[in-house]
Amino acid sequence: MFHLAQEVAGSNPRGWADVVRHDLIPVASAFAVWIGFLLSYRTTSGSRRRPEVRPTGRRAFRSLASTVVGGYLVFLFIIVVFYFALGGEAPSFLSQALGEGSLLAFGIVVPAFLGLSWLDQRGWLRLTRRRT
């Protein structure tokens, strides 16, 4: 037998409040995000055949920085709201998660993305479709 994770928060609910905190709000939040994706698709579906614009130079750097910083803030929000506020995790868990998230985002993802993009641009690794 193998374990996928530690003891799951809320696995032994003591009342309705626990069910709401650990089950209802997370599932409803995930559903709301999915509905947001579908609404976004619906509003832009007329333009989905439009060719993608790939920023270059300084605009590419700004776009990457915006995505990484904004995404990291979303990650922080998830940790603080769902693990700390609703999940009842200890403050030490919070600081550990934020450190691990920083390592993942800025120490692994960004260098890997930059390295793979560089290889793709040099033509040594085909990761994107080339337009003819």
Binding site: Q6, F37, S40, L73, I78
Partner: protein, 71 residues
Amino acid sequence: MIGLVGWGIVVGGVLGYQGFCLLDNGDRWPALSDILRDVMRYPAGRWVLFGLWLWFGWHLFVRGWKFFLRA
């Protein structure tokens, strides 16, 4: 065990839907990749997707580990 079966059904359903949409020539059923591509047109969409991706990777592979060794 029931959790693994549940997640297997969910992931199988998602992959099956994506495969069906990619094989279907019409626009009636949008593929998940089409939906995510549209979401990524907006900065806020990119932030949410990257944040969820970070959380997913952290939740599955990093949480509770100590320097690549299980705590």
